[in-house]
Amino acid sequence: MNETPKVLVIIPAYNEEGSIAHVIQRIQSVSDDIDVVVINDGSRDATVEVARAAGATAVIDLPFNLGIGGAMQTGYLYAHKNDYDIALQIDADGQHDPFDIPKVIEPILRGEVNFTVGSRWVEKTAYKSSAARRVGMVIFSRLIKWVTGQVCKDPTSGFRAADKRVIEMFANYYPVDYPEVEVLVHISRRGLKFREIAVEMSERQAGSSSITPIKSIYYMVKVGLAVLISATRKEGAL
């Protein structure tokens, strides 16, 4: 790793005009050396204009909604094309605290791991979530432990950081629909290492979550299947 690593924060945004500006400004207040790319996933509100006005390094405007996986991959593709050393992803809704960024990228800077996940469960934090969501997280973290042998107590967290190898891997392939859990399996199957870092998380500040109760059943089935299948997939087919 060179002296000053190029760091990019990827913010996928779908109808987040209410919170995006605040998130961008907070990231910029952490450090001047961090670039911010907002991926507008076909929003119908003023997300693009607000993000540009807030001073995002780049705003990429997808012509229609690709879903969270497609939007995230666009960010990693951008990071890969522009030769960034580290790419972070942060939710546009203000749940993640940008002041945790240095903490999350530190193990990657030291070359200890390739990928980190900001977790709300490693240490006790102020975050509370619904019972259904907690059950889902426990099931998924067991599944991750079983398939990868690595511990991740908060596999659905959207606060993540990736090194160059992972950026390249994501630019080529990124799972669709609900990618957070699957991504960990893909990383582990490639022989790369991830680690959980304790961060603070708060309730979303505006907008609404992409996961509705109806979708959560589909989420469980789809992600469960995808994790099991990718665990049996041959190395080359990842």
Binding site: I60, D61, L66, G70, Q73
Partner: protein, 127 residues
């Protein structure tokens, strides 16, 4: 068995299958259906024509397979064909969706670059 002393249903069946083959061919001619996908449908149409004209072949096959009611064998074959083709189509759609996503991403990044370049040029003009 000739066409003239057969029941009306066989005549209808033959007419329908001939019409089907002609319709597929016309779709290809009008570029509404790709040649690569039309082969399957033409083969299917010809099979229906043969089964309609030579319905005793179907009966023979049914007897050989211990199927008591010959038309049910026809339904089974048709159903399996439909399943196989639907599966094939979902595979094709999956591949197409992946390509559309990739293209969309590349296009959006390219448009961003274009915009940046245009803004830079504008800025240079004003100085």
């Amino acid at each position: 068995m000739t066409v003239f002393n057969t029941p009306a249903i066989y005549v209808l069946s033959i007419l329908f299958s001939l019409f089907f083959v002609l319709f597929v061919l016309s779709l290809v001619r009008r570029r509404r259906l790709r040649e690569q996908y039309s082969i399957m449908w033409i083969v299917l149409g010809v099979v229906i024509v043969i089964v309609s004209v030579k319905s005793d072949w179907l009966v023979e096959l049914a007897t050989w397979l211990d199927v008591v009611y010959a038309p049910s064998l026809l339904f089974l074959i048709a159903l399996l064909f439909c399943f196989a083709y639907l599966l094939h189509l979902t595979v094709v759609i999956s591949k197409l969706s992946d390509r559309v996503v990739k293209l969309t991403q590349e296009l959006a990044i390219y448009q961003h670059r274009e915009r940046e370049a245009a803004l830079k040029k504008e800025g240079a003009l004003h100085e």
